[in-house]
């Protein structure tokens, strides 16, 4: 049994302790927002937040996340990053975008006013559809919205 706290709810899960967090979220909890792309921490489609950090859930054993605060895209409710994604019409096939949004939120939580270079350094997720220039613009828009909300 593994005990995980996901989006504020605690679950007892009958999964093998080495099961990656990604597959616990998807196959045991029905949270399908985090996607499987590579399973080797390359693509970032599986990005979720663990204790406030954006992590690639495909290589985090679920047992290692016990006691942590796990947040998935399902936890976001019209977040400024999502608003910006819609405003700039970022998604194409959309498969990478949950991970992108969580990675972008992770960046903005740490750095409220990222430069292009900061974005380039922080967003290492891949998008096979090539939505990169929109992602960059949307992150700047989300950053501005979040700063306004704060002030």
């Amino acid at each position: 049994m593994i005990t995980l706290t996901v989006n504020g709810q605690t679950h007892q899960i009958d999964a093998e302790p080495d099961t990656p967090l990604l597959w616990v979220l998807r196959d045991f909890l029905g949270h399908n927002g985090a996607k499987y792309g590579c399973g080797i921490a390359y693509c970032g489609a599986c990005t979720v937040h663990v204790d406030g950090n954006a992590v690639r859930s495909c290589i985090v054993p679920a047992s290692a996340a016990e006691g942590s605060d796990i947040r998935t895209i399902e936890d976001l409710d019209n977040h400024p990053v999502q608003q910006a994604w819609i405003e700039h019409q970022v998604p194409q096939c959309g498969y990478c975008q949950s991970g992108m949004i969580m990675a972008a939120k992770g960046l903005l939580d740490r750095n409220p006013e990222p430069s292009d270079a900061d974005i380039d350094a922080a967003i290492t997720n891949v998008c096979r559809c090539g939505t990169y220039t929109r992602i960059r613009t949307a992150i700047h828009t989300a950053a501005a919205t979040m700063r306004e909300a704060r002030s």
Partner: protein, 720 residues
């Protein structure tokens, strides 16, 4: 156009989704590629086909069935725009529904299946959907005129209602439905001129954006079906191989594993969850009979292709007197180029959920070709009547030509038959990459002749490339391959003499459609080689191209716009520029890459200027997105893409061995769309082919060395 209104279809229910009026209509389709080089018989599409339906709803929305799978290109948004424009709807009144599988109604006759080929769905639908909207609008106006007993001219259709301004009366399309159903549908209704468009031609948001930004879009891999098991698969590592034996025990001792299932050419583990299935599969040691393709590797495939270049091949084009052009030339330039196999690497690996029920099979997956699944499964499962094979299409995590393959759903159904439960089969990334239908490897030799003034007098070449067409129609003996030379012999450039031949070797490696198809490597060849010729002639590369492309005014406009917008010839200090220009898929695109290159081959892109001529377009914002997307696609292919074959098996297994371009590599992309014409082009693919040569030409401008093979990584080029 033939339309039928069936009174039977009226449902007087009060629910908001109640169907009111269903009109079947026929859509004439053109071949996917205009440039078929060989005998056209089985492939020309010359008859109307039904591929969509309209339903008027009581809540004043209109449902439109789209036969095109949403690949990410935005066709779900564009298609209703066509109807909405003529039907005088506000766009938010339009609902799109995926086509149900109906072979006769939806099949694309080029390949005989319901399929979304390339990005042609919108182009094919351009006139028919507008006509449908126009004729239906007139029908509804007629119905109102009859109801109110007034002349037709006094009615106005707007926002899903017909009104009579003089009296202030107004009825919704839904309310007019019953009257309309008993009336003749007007034909030959003139379409609105572009100048009167209110929706088309303006930037309009896609309506799948919200679902895709909030993780509510359901992809095939997200399917949950009552009672299902999750499965993963290892198929023969070598195409054509078969499973000899496997000891299931090691998998069965993994917690969560249910069964080990063997197929002729694969072993599958089913479990309560993916991770258990994967662990179980990894614990197995299947033994294979690999078959003859195991003798093939990248080196001997390449040697066979190079050898073919010394022998006459199938003639694709022979215009003018090429021999004299070469003999009388002041200069002849010769070069050999090549490109490797490329993997689609869709970010969502292939997967399918199947429920085999003995007399029926139901599928859930994202597919570009539901019809191909149906016809393939009808062969594999003769006990199941074809009409009982149901395909529920889901969002696709990338198509790019890969998701027309019926293999994964067929495997899922075979497993479901054996285990007696619904099965969600997920290919691991490793399975996906090693079992692709790759863009075929090719090698080419080109010769260009120049006269004393540096003008091209002749262009000829011979290419060896596996036939994509043969693999697509499952017929290795198809006698011609239009994809072999597309991008080399199109009419965007005119040469006094032009001669191309091709060979179709058959090394046994599976190949398939890949975004850009033949154009993407052939444009790299042609546009790199044109740069070589321009250099040999001592001429400016854009001015040189203007001469070749100048027979079309639009080409001149495009190249001049490109030169101006990119500040051609005046890069920022320390930067270089490279240009490429190409027709593909009914559209023309020119790109200038401005880059800097360090001494150790590290490339930084500073700006990409893209000028495209996509004819008339529905949504300029979507065209911009598609150009950005396609350029990124071209860059990944050019820099990194390389599938190598060892003893018949694919060497690269995951993204760490098959890199993808990232955000840090992509600079500002400035896209200019030429003013619309009146025929639609296609935005989805045409941005990709110029990207590899524009980059190669920029690198050559910086380093002086000509990159004659992809990926550029193997030449020591990397992104800074």
């Amino acid at each position: 156009m033939k339309m039928e209104v069936s009174r039977r279809e009226f449902l007087q229910g009060s629910g908001s989704a109640a169907a009111s009026l269903v009109i079947g209509f026929h859509v004439p389709l053109k071949p996917a590629r205009a440039q078929f080089g060989g005998p056209p018989e089985p492939f020309v599409v010359d008859r109307d086909m039904v591929n969509a339906y309209l339903t008027f709803n009581s809540d004043e929305t209109v449902s439109i069935v789209s036969a095109a799978a949403e690949l990410g290109q935005g066709s779900l948004t564009s298609l209703p725009m066509l109807i909405a424009e003529e039907l005088e709807l506000a766009l938010e009144q339009v609902r799109i529904e995926q086509a149900p599988l109906n072979e006769s109604a939806f099949k694309n006759r080029l390949f005989g299946y319901q399929t979304t080929v390339g990005t042609s769905a919108v182009r094919w639908a351009f006139d028919p959907l507008r006509q449908l909207g126009a004729n239906t609008r007139e029908l509804l106006r007629n119905a109102a005129a009859v109801t109110w007993d007034i002349p037709l001219e006094e009615t106005v259709a707007d926002r899903g209602r017909v009104t009579h301004p003089a009296s202030g009366r107004s009825l919704s399309y839904f309310e007019l439905g019953e009257t309309a159903a008993g009336m003749e549908i007007p034909t030959d209704v003139p379409l609105k001129p572009q100048s009167e468009w209110r929706i088309l031609g303006t930037p309009f948001p896609r309506w799948d954006t919200e679902a895709k930004s909030t993780a509510t879009a359901n992809y095939g891999i997200d399917m949950q079906v009552e009672g299902m098991v999750v499965a993963t698969i290892a198929a023969t590592p070598v195409p054509g191989g078969t499973l000899r034996s496997v000891d299931p025990e090691p998998a069965l001792s993994v917690n969560g594993v249910e069964e080990v299932v063997t197929l002729d050419d694969a072993v599958v583990v089913t479990a309560t969850n993916y991770w258990s299935a994967k662990k179980g599969l990894d614990a197995l040691d299947p033994q294979w009979d690999l078959g003859p393709v195991a003798a093939r590797n990248s080196e001997n495939i390449r040697e066979e292709m190079l050898h073919l270049l010394d022998q006459p091949g199938n003639e694709a084009v022979n215009e003018g007197d090429i021999e004299s052009a070469m003999q009388e030339a002041a200069q002849v330039v010769t070069a050999t180029y090549e490109a490797p196999y490329w993997a689609h690497a869709t970010l969502e690996p292939l997967n399918a959920t199947a429920d085999y029920r003995g007399d029926s099979i139901e599928f859930w997956l994202g597919t570009q070709s539901p019809g191909r699944i149906q016809s393939m499964c009808a062969l594999t499962f003769p006990e199941v009547p074809q009409e009982n094979i149901i395909v529920n299409n889901q969002y696709l995590g990338g198509g790019f030509g890969r998701r027309g393959d019926p293999m994964a759903p067929e495997q899922a159904a075979l497993v479901s038959r054996q285990v007696g439960k619904p099965v969600k089969l997920i290919w691991s990334r490793e399975e996906d990459m090693t079992h692709g239908a790759y863009r075929p490897k090719s090698v080419i030799r080109m010769e260009g002749s120049l006269d004393g003034e540096g003008r091209v007098t002749g262009f000829r070449g011979r290419i060896a490339v596996q036939s994509t067409l043969a693999s697509l129609i499952d017929n290795p003996d198809v006698p011609f391959d239009p994809f072999a030379t597309e991008g080399l012999i199109d009419d965007d450039y005119r040469f006094p003499a032009l001669n191309f031949e091709y060979h179709s070797p058959r090394p046994g490696i599976p190949v398939g459609f890949y975004r850009g198809v033949g154009f993407i490597h052939n444009t790299f060849y042609r546009e790199s080689f044109m740069d070589e010729l321009a250099h040999a002639a001592g001429r400016d590369p854009i001015e040189f191209r203007l001469e070749l492309a100048g027979h079309r005014e639009r080409n001149v406009l495009l190249l001049n716009t490109l030169a101006e917008r990119s500040n051609w010839g005046h890069p920022a200090p320390g930067n270089v520029q490279g240009v490429a220009f190409a027709y593909s898929d009914e559209s023309t695109v020119g790109e200038v890459f401005e880059a800097s290159v360090s001494d150790d081959g590290r490339v930084r892109l500073h700006k990409i200027t893209c000028v495209c001529d996509v004819g008339v377009y529905m949504n300029p914002m979507m065209i911009e997105h598609q150009m950005e997307s396609a350029i990124t696609w071209g860059l990944t292919s050019a820099m990194y893409g390389e599938i190598l074959i060892d003893n018949g098996a694919t060497r690269q297994r995951n993204f760490n061995e098959y890199e993808l371009v990232r955000i840090s590599h992509i600079p500002e992309i400035d896209t200019v769309i030429l003013p619309p014409t009146d025929t639609p082009g296609s935005g989805g693919e045409c941005g990709a082919p110029p990207a590899p040569p524009a980059l190669a030409n920029a690198i050559c401008a910086a380093t002086g060395s000509r990159l004659r093979s992809m990926p550029f990584r193997i030449h020591g080029i990397s992104f800074a």
